[in-house]
Each structure stands twice: as structure tokens, then as C-alpha cells.
């Protein structure tokens, strides 16, 4: 039912806990160990994050990688790259972090709404200690709700103890960032599910 689209290391222990927490889809950067995926009814996908500030470099990387079988996320470090990413169908999500938060202005969000491109936010950034940055995130997340832009949340977990229960993520978004519970739910359920649906060409299988 729930999806975590940003896990750095998918170990056996992590997957065990994720199944207990009713996660049904994980997008991992590294998959460690051998795990019987079919038995546990959990789906995986390899995730690639491209961090760049030039369009040419991004185009070059996109030409070389297998974007059909991997979840492609771009971490844009300049406005031009961020604007370009919106209308490229090879890119699945655009990562919003503390580094590039200022890029996400009204114009960017309106474009993202029109092209149906989701914003990805990591839990590590949401729980930053800097109150000024948290304020910036608060404004951006509320703008996302206002402009009806799809949001996806990833835990950004390195090991099994950095995993978050989906209910706690929803409540963190609701209590700390005043996000409506329904929208927070969508960020963990329907929005990542649609990404997977698009990747598999309209065939979702058992999910």
C-alpha cells in the first residue's frame, strides 16, 4: 500500500522491517544481499539520482542510462536545469533539498503542475535542525498544496534503523508542516504508485 521511493541501502533487515510496516514498493540506490522478492509481495526498482547544474551534462547522462527500468530523479542545482527537467519525459521526479530549495518558485511549480511532474522530498531534509530552512520548506510545501503539484516522500535511509513508519511520516507532515492528512497520504500511496504505473507501461501487476 505504501511506497518509499528513496532508500540509499536496501539490506535484508531493512526489507524485513519495511514489510512489517506494510510498504509495497521500494526504490533503492543500492540493493544489498539476496532477498526473495516475489514471496514477500514487495516490489523494487533501482533509483538513479542525477545532480547537475548544466543542461548539456544532464542530456549526456540521460542518453547513456537505462531510463526505462530505473527510477530517474534529477537534483537540479540551477533554475535552467530545473525548468528543463519539467518537460522531459525520461525524468520521473525532481528532488527538492536544502541545497536547491530556492529554485522552487511559483513559476516552477505551475510548470510542474501543467506537466504532471512530481516533487520529491527526503525525510532527512524535512527534519533539519535549522529553523530558517524548516520555514522555507514549510512555505514550499504549502505552495505545493496550493498549486496542486504532486508530492512524493522518500526516507533517504542508509540503514534499517533510519526507516520511518508511514503513519509517522503523515503525522510529521501534518503537525510540523500543516499539510492536510489527505495530501500527505497521497505522497506515500497514490503519487509513487502512479510513477510505477507509468514506468511499467500501464501494467501494475499484483500491487
Amino acid at each position: 500500500m505504501f511506497s518509499d521511493i528513496y532508500v540509499i541501502n536496501c539490506s535484508d533487515r531493512y526489507i524485513e522491517i519495511a514489510i512489517k510496516m506494510k510498504y509495497s514498493f521500494l526504490a533503492c540506490i543500492k540493493i544489498l544481499g539476496e532477498f526473495s522478492i516475489e514471496k514477500k509481495n514487495l516490489r523494487f526498482m533501482k533509483k538513479l539520482i542525477i545532480e547537475t547544474d548544466s543542461i548539456n551534462e544532464l542530456k549526456d547522462v540521460l542518453r547513456r542510462i537505462d531510463y526505462k527500468n530505473n527510477l530517474i530523479t534529477v537534483h537540479p542545482l540551477s533554475i535552467t536545469v530545473a525548468r528543463w527537467c519539467v518537460h522531459d519525459s525520461r525524468i520521473d521526479t525532481i528532488l527538492m533539498t536544502i541545497k536547491n530549495i530556492e529554485i522552487f518558485d511559483k513559476k516552477q511549480l505551475k510548470m510542474m503542475r501543467n506537466y504532471g511532474k512530481p516533487v520529491e522530498v527526503s525525510m532527512k531534509d524535512l527534519l533539519t535542525d535549522d529553523s530558517k530552512l524548516r520555514g522555507m520548506l514549510y512555505r514550499r510545501l504549502n505552495l505545493l498544496v496550493k498549486y496542486d503539484v504532486a508530492l512524493t516522500i522518500g526516507t533517504g535511509a542508509n540503514d534499517s534503523y533510519e526507516i520511518f513508519h508511514p503513519l509517522t511520516i503523515i503525522m510529521i507532515l501534518n503537525t510540523m508542516y500543516d499539510m492536510p492528512i489527505k495530501r500527505a497520504m497521497l505522497a506515500l500511496t497514490d503519487n509513487p504508485r502512479q510513477l510505477l504505473y507509468r514506468k511499467q507501461g500501464g501494467n501494475l501487476g499484483s500491487i
Binding site: 522491517i17 527534519l127 534503523y161 520511518f164 509517522t168
Partner: protein
């Protein structure tokens, strides 16, 4: 012709006076209303009855943790993210914690249940050990919470 001009001027002046008087009347009525509201006794909203909620949770940790350390770390995280005044109002209390099965029951005021669930997610280290706290179920009575604790398999 002169007479006509005088009449025209007089009518415009009278129309303007009418408009001004209407505006003043509107203002006066507003003022009257505010004065009246001052004289009326204020109606206080009905006070919400604070109910208790019991949250059953489990801890997955590197090593077994004690009740005191868990309570301390949850409270400190709640203060860190939501403030001391909120914690005082919410009054979270660890009613029961089984150190063998690493499961427990937290009690909180019903208005602040969401804050407690969020805090359980924020706690990542207890007593120097890496931990994940998972909320399982919420109930209204302690009896039911104990029943769930016995039945649930996680």
C-alpha cells in the same frame, strides 16, 4: 435660465447631502452595534472535555532498552520539535512497557495524539542504541490496550 441653474445647483447639493447622511447612518449603525455587543454578556465557548487515548507501540532496537530511557528520549524529542508548553498540555505518560517483548502503551490527551505518533517516528536513538518506534493501535481504554498488546503479533 438663472432660476433653472439655481434649482439644479440646489438639487445636486441636496443629493450629495443625502448620500453623506446615508453613509453617516451606516457608520452610526455599525457603532451602535459594537456598543451593544460591549454591553451584552460574552458567551464563552463550551469547554472541550479532555479524553485520554492509549497508543500501543513496539520498539525495534539494536539491543533491549529500558522503560526510563525510552520515556526520557520520547519526551526530549517532543520538547525539541513541539516545545515545552505543548508537552505540558499533552502530558504524555508511558503507562506500561514490557522490556522482554519491547512493547508498550503510551497515554496522551486525545487532542495531541497526532503529535505523539509523529514523535515516535522522530526518535531514532535511545540510550545510544539505534531504534525504530512503530505505532500499532490506538484505543480509548487501558483494558483494551492491554488486550491488543496480548493479541497483536508484529
Amino acid at each position: 435660465m438663472d432660476l433653472f441653474k439655481i434649482v439644479l445647483i440646489l438639487t445636486t447639493i441636496s443629493a450629495m447631502l443625502m448620500v453623506f447622511s446615508l453613509i453617516n447612518l451606516f457608520k452610526a449603525s455599525k457603532l451602535l452595534k459594537s456598543v451593544k455587543s460591549l454591553s451584552e454578556p460574552t458567551i464563552y465557548e463550551k469547554k472541550i472535555r479532555l479524553r485520554k487515548r492509549y497508543l500501543v507501540f513496539t520498539a525495534i532496537c539494536e539491543d533491549k532498552i529500558s522503560k526510563n530511557s525510552l520515556e526520557k528520549s520520547v519526551e526530549s524529542k517532543m520538547i525539541e520539535y513541539y516545545g515545552k508548553s505543548m508537552v505540558n498540555k499533552a502530558s504524555p505518560y508511558l503507562v506500561f512497557f514490557d522490556e522482554t517483548s519491547q512493547r508498550g502503551i503510551y497515554r496522551i490527551v486525545h487532542l495531541y495524539l497526532n503529535f505523539l505518533i509523529a514523535t515516535l517516528g522522530l526518535v531514532k536513538i535511545i540510550d545510544g542504541k539505534k531504534c525504530v518506534l512503530i505505532p500499532l493501535k490506538t484505543t480509548g481504554t487501558l483494558k483494551k490496550a492491554h488486550e491488543i498488546l496480548r493479541k497483536i503479533r508484529y
